[in-house]
Symmetry: C2
Subunit: 393 residues, 2 copies
């Protein structure tokens, strides 16, 4: 069995992520900033030590974010999700409509073709909730109402984005397959609907069976099987794998308390997660920003992505106070893997240029990088208002 090769990368990635993470914390910033920075430093374009075309490292990154979403799901209760359901749905819908319209509009104004404009707009639709969730967790705010609304909305906008991608892909190929499109919508509805409505009940019923199973650490092992299985199923349907992993966590949340699953999954997570953040950072080419036109386009698309999502979110939760509305908007800002997937699909269909792909990548990373400090800022406790609930610092 060959060693060495990948072991060196593992050591470098894990260690530098943790060192720069510790420095971030010392500078009163969330650790992720440091971990992303470690990725930018080690990545393709700066030191060139790690490369995003390395399948082994990318798989570890992928499994890292899957475990993160599973872990987050374990802390979320379906009934609490239902409690904020209406707001979350509204944030999800308006948080997709605004970026879509503003994205297409501004791209067309800049003189891009309609199909390229459509792809760019689709790439800025879906929130990559991992980053926001990690920051909220670190702040002890994962059970805060904002976290619930953001999680619900992010699951929805991922679904919307992937449905729209299916539509745009059909248009790009010159043929629109209505059947395929309807199938995706149906499958998504059934998947999410079934899991939220009957999942927890089914999980509760299996408890007796789980107790009798004779493998060591049975509940932990079964929960991982469920996580990997639903992630794979979500992927097969055409949704993002992380949605499946998140739903797996949500479904077994009640049992998780009984078997202390959170504390067990936590350490798998601690080991795997740095690979995700580092590999995300490694995609960034700081040199691309030396080309003025590319820099301008990236900043513009990023600004549209941030503004449109914030406007949509803030309008959607009009029932909340302004502070909460801003907090929700800020948490919805980061774009990640879905945006990158859209970019890659566009690139492979030759409907967007390589430069435009760099722009999409830059937008994903910029929105990811600016979110943690923005969240910190939006949750900053005012000295005189010490009565707000939950730990906020």
């Amino acid at each position: 069995m060959e060693t060495g090769n990948f072991l060196f990368y593992f050591f470098i990635i894990f260690t530098s992520a943790k060192i720069l993470g510790a420095i971030s914390i010392r500078l009163k910033m969330p650790a992720i900033i440091g971990e992303l920075a470690a990725g930018v430093l080690l990545g393709n374009y700066v030191l060139g030590i790690i490369n995003t075309s390395n399948h082994v490292l990318m798989s570890f990154a992928e499994i890292g974010v899957i475990f993160l979403m599973f872990y987050v799901g374990l802390e979320i209760r379906v009934k609490d999700l239902f409690a904020v359901g209406r707001t979350a749905i509204l944030v999800g819908i308006l948080g997709v409509i605004f970026p879509l319209l503003m994205g297409i509009g501004s791209m067309l104004l800049l003189g891009h073709e309609i199909i390229e404009s459509l792809f760019v707009a689709t790439a800025i639709l879906a929130t990559s909730v991992g980053i926001s969730v990690k920051v909220l967790k670190d702040l002890g705010l994962i059970k805060h109402k904002v976290a619930y609304i953001v999680l619900g909305a992010a699951v929805l906008d991922d679904i919307f984005a992937l449905i729209i991608l299916a539509l745009v892909k059909g248009l790009a190929r010159g043929k629109f397959q209505a059947a395929e499109f309807v199938l995706l919508i149906m499958e998504s509805l059934v998947f999410i609907g079934f899991l939220t409505l009957w999942g927890p009940k089914l999980a509760r019923r299996t408890r007796k069976w789980v107790e009798r199973i004779n493998i060591p650490e049975g509940p932990f092992v079964l929960s991982i099987i469920l996580c990997l299985g639903l992630a794979e199923l979500a992927d097969i349907i055409g949704l993002a794998a992380i949605i499946g992993a998140f739903m797996a966590g949500v479904v077994i949340d009640e049992l998780a308390g009984v078997y202390d699953l959170e504390n067990k999954v936590k350490y798998v997570n601690e080991f795997l997660l740095p690979f995700f953040f580092v590999m995300m950072g490694a995609h960034l080419d700081p040199g691309a920003f030396l080309k003025p036109n590319l820099l301008f386009l990236t900043l513009l698309v990023t600004a549209i992505a941030v503004l449109s999502k914030m406007v949509g979110s803030v309008l959607a939760c009009w029932k909340e106070n302004w502070k909460t509305r801003i907090q929700i908007g800020v948490c919805m800002v980061p774009r990640g893997e879905v945006g990158i997937i859209v970019g890659m699909v566009g690139l492979s269909l030759h409907t967007i240029t390589k430069d435009m792909y760099t722009v999409v990548l830059g937008m994903s990373l910029l929105t990811t990088l600016i979110t943690p400090p923005l969240i910190l800022l939006s949750f900053k406790k005012k000295r005189r208002k010490a009565s707000s609930p939950g730990k906020t610092e």
Copy 2:
């Protein structure tokens, strides 16, 4: 980021390993048998679902066995290792000399060339202690004297085997580099000597510093950095990575208790380890045994590997009673990654044939497959001898 592809393999590997493992347990066999069988079934030659040339899966397997050895190291105390030191060293030395002589002798008798005979003999030198250790752990015997002797001896015979490989490699290339050879010996001695003598003291001294570090789960994170770092260092020196990981665990054993590291590393292990056993199993081509001459050679080499190691071990621990001597001998039987590495080196230097490589692989896997039942048998409590210490059933 591409998903799907590897996620499917993850689900299949983890799930089938656990299902066949549970069936093994029900049949009163250790779970590993089932996990290895899952690998044979899924592997290159039977269902062909997974392939050992898949870098992602092999890397997960490799990191799985690294975490196993780290976890085992965490349970081992240096001073207990010293207490059985003399016996372990003798088992290590005789357990290498006998396989080497018997291996070369029988291959020469069968009419093979001297250099090929040397390679085959080298491939049967090193015990792959992972399997034995897992069985002993499952039996609650990891703190038994036998486990300590076997672990100490296995670390030593890995070192001997790798030194002999360096020698044989030089001969195969037609030039023997004395300087390189001496360097490897010196490096190995310094690495192991330094870590066993000063490692624990150094670790104790860092405790104040560890307490002050401001990253979440600091001790856990630092222990993983140490594990990956020493594994990589051992690999750079030319030793096996698992020796480095094991030594990392041994060095911080005392601190491990303070920070409950065992219970944290355990779950990382639970997730990653099945990949190791499944990928080990996947190497096996049951069809190869349909060729009578290959089957004969594999069985012969396996018999020599088992007998020579057992004779060496049993002679080495002449101070112990017969039961203990047999137990130690049995635990030293499995050959694994080092044997496969030797085979691969031989193949790449064109000094062994592809058939001979299959034989070496078959030997590695057969010794691995027969060990768990043999260990169970050797530790079986006699009805009238209920006074023996430790849980044995």
